[in-house]
């Protein structure tokens, strides 16, 4: 996800538009806790989704986002990447690991060791 991490606050979320796209949330420790998306049914797009997360989030939660109309496949890709590295999904994601595809990250480096 391309953009830099920002603190999840009302002020931080206000800068995010109503676009379709994907987002990540992480704790201050650096652990990613949720990979989500704002789809065509999301009220106010990414900004609305992040505001919804903010309402239930503790302090020191960070977010970053990416605007894309391929939000469903990009969301799956991010989950696949996370699962490939951690052998599980982020703590707050509702999906089950078996619903997410397998991916070899860094093929040609790790895979050949």
């Amino acid at each position: 996800v391309g953009r830099q991490w920002r603190l999840l606050t009302e002020q931080g979320v206000r800068t995010v538009g109503g676009y379709l796209g994907v987002y990540e949330l992480r704790e201050g420790s650096g652990e990613v806790i949720r990979i989500g998306y704002a789809g065509s049914r999301s009220l106010h797009g990414l900004g609305g989704e992040l505001r919804e997360r903010l309402a239930h989030a503790g302090p020191d939660i960070w977010f970053r986002f990416e605007i894309t109309s391929a939000y469903l496949s990009r969301h799956q890709e991010l989950l696949m990447q996370y699962k490939a590295v951690h052998a599980r999904l982020p703590r707050d994601n509702p999906e089950r690991p078996e619903q997410v595809g397998r991916l070899t990250v860094n093929f040609g480096q790790d895979a050949r060791r």
């Binding site: 049914r41 391929a70 496949s73 890709e77 696949m80 595809g101 895979a111």
Partner: protein, 388 residues
């Protein structure tokens, strides 16, 4: 071919039409506009209903438990199943079941036990890997993936590109070069299990389809037992050609179904929307677009049904299947484009299904053999020769 549907065909069409309108469209209203799947409870309930109706597994031959439906009727059904937002690539969200990989119906008994029957029972899923970075429309010559003999079978090395479902499947049908021939003769089809060491899905490729990605797959010294060769060695392209060609007809009919739905929406909108004091439907420019839509729909419908009828009669239908695919996909694209134009600004918003159909219909002119290859196939049938 009789142009009138039989009473049974009319009844089937009515049944499917009612199913789409009463069961699918209401559920679709609550889904993401680009969704490809239903909620699991809805899916299970509707699959049970389709089984009860006797239409589950339309792509499965009767001898393997599929319904006894001729190809003309299947084509009529395909035109109905696709008349909703997700209908082009996810007709009725898959609750009518898939046919599995057509090639497996011609597998050995042992292969059927290990791969086909578990697939038909829904216990295993598969992928199909033909295209490579070097090309897809002329796979016989583009395939660079090599399989070399080992003591206990074969070792595969190479890359496959734009492969759907490889990241979740249990096994795949993978085409690799086994002979010295540079053409079709040197290619073999292998059944590769995805838990084999050296099998790697290395990249996700995003496409015009939001809900469905393709993948790149690397084969790094993947060992495959000799028992997993599907069909004959060096004859991978000889498997299930007729079955695959038959499947291309309902695939084409899906495009006509979407076009029918687009036309229905466009006519309703043109009658209701007013500009400069009169409904759009009174404007000649709009009337002509609607008539052009109708010409495309009727010609596409004729081509797909004629191809299906010829296949049902057991006659050679290579040219007809190619022409049906060519005409239906191109006609479908034009109808969606014109209907979108009639809707004006509303047509490009995601409030209406045109956005999704417009993107997905574009793929149809390329997937399952692009229009240019269909012309080649038709020309070969009409003129003769191999066009090498």
């Amino acid at each position: 071919m009789d142009l009138e549907l039989t009473d049974e065909q009319k009844s089937v069409v009515q049944t499917i039409r009612r199913f789409v309108q009463e069961e699918i469209i209401p559920l679709e209203q609550a889904l993401d506009y680009d969704a490809d799947t239903l909620e699991s409870e809805d899916e299970a309930r509707l699959i049970a209903k389709v089984k009860q109706m006797g239409f589950y597994g339309l792509g499965i031959p009767e001898e393997f438990g599929g319904p006894a439906v001729d190809l003309v009727t299947r084509t009529l059904i395909a035109m109905e199943l696709s008349q909703h937002r997700a209908g082009l690539y996810a007709p009725c969200y898959g609750v009518f079941g898939g046919g599995g990989a057509a090639q497996l119906f011609e597998a050995s008994e042992e292969q059927k036990e290990r791969f086909l029957y578990p697939t038909l029972r829904g216990e295993k899923t598969s992928f199909f890997a033909l295209t490579e970075p070097s090309g897809g429309s002329d796979p016989a010559r583009a395939i660079q993936m090599r399989a070399r003999r080992a003591d206990d079978g074969w070792i595969l090395n190479g890359t496959k590109l734009y492969i759907a479902d490889a990241d979740k499947a249990d096994f795949g049908l993978v085409f690799a070069r086994t002979g010295e021939s540079k053409g079709r003769d040197g290619v073999t089809c292998f059944i590769v299990e995805t838990d084999s060491p050296g099998f790697h899905v290395t990249r996700v490729t995003h496409t015009l389809r939001n809900a469905k990605y393709a993948t790149e797959v690397q084969f790094d010294d993947v060992r495959v037992p000799a028992a997993n060769i599907l069909g004959e060695l060096n004859a991978g392209f000889a498997i299930a050609n007729d079955r695959l060609m038959r499947e291309r007809i309902p695939y084409s009919a899906n495009c006509i179904g979407v076009a029918i739905m687009a036309q229905r929406l466009a006519i309703a909108y043109a009658k209701q929307r007013e500009t400069f004091g009169a409904p759009l439907s009174t404007r000649q420019s709009i009337q002509w677009m609607i008539v052009d839509n109708e010409i495309d729909i009727r010609s596409g419908r004729w081509f797909v049904l004629q191809a299906a009828a010829k296949a049902d009669r057991g006659e050679r239908f290579h040219a007809e299947a190619a022409l049906a695919k060519l005409v239906a996909t191109e006609a479908g694209g034009r109808v969606v484009d014109r209907s979108m134009q009639i809707f004006g600004g509303a047509g490009v918003s995601k409030d209406h299904p045109f956005d999704r159909w417009y993107r997905e219909m574009r793929i149809r002119r390329i997937g399952e053999g692009p229009s240019e290859v269909q012309r080649l196939v038709a020309a070969r049938e009409l003129i003769g020769g191999s066009f090498k």
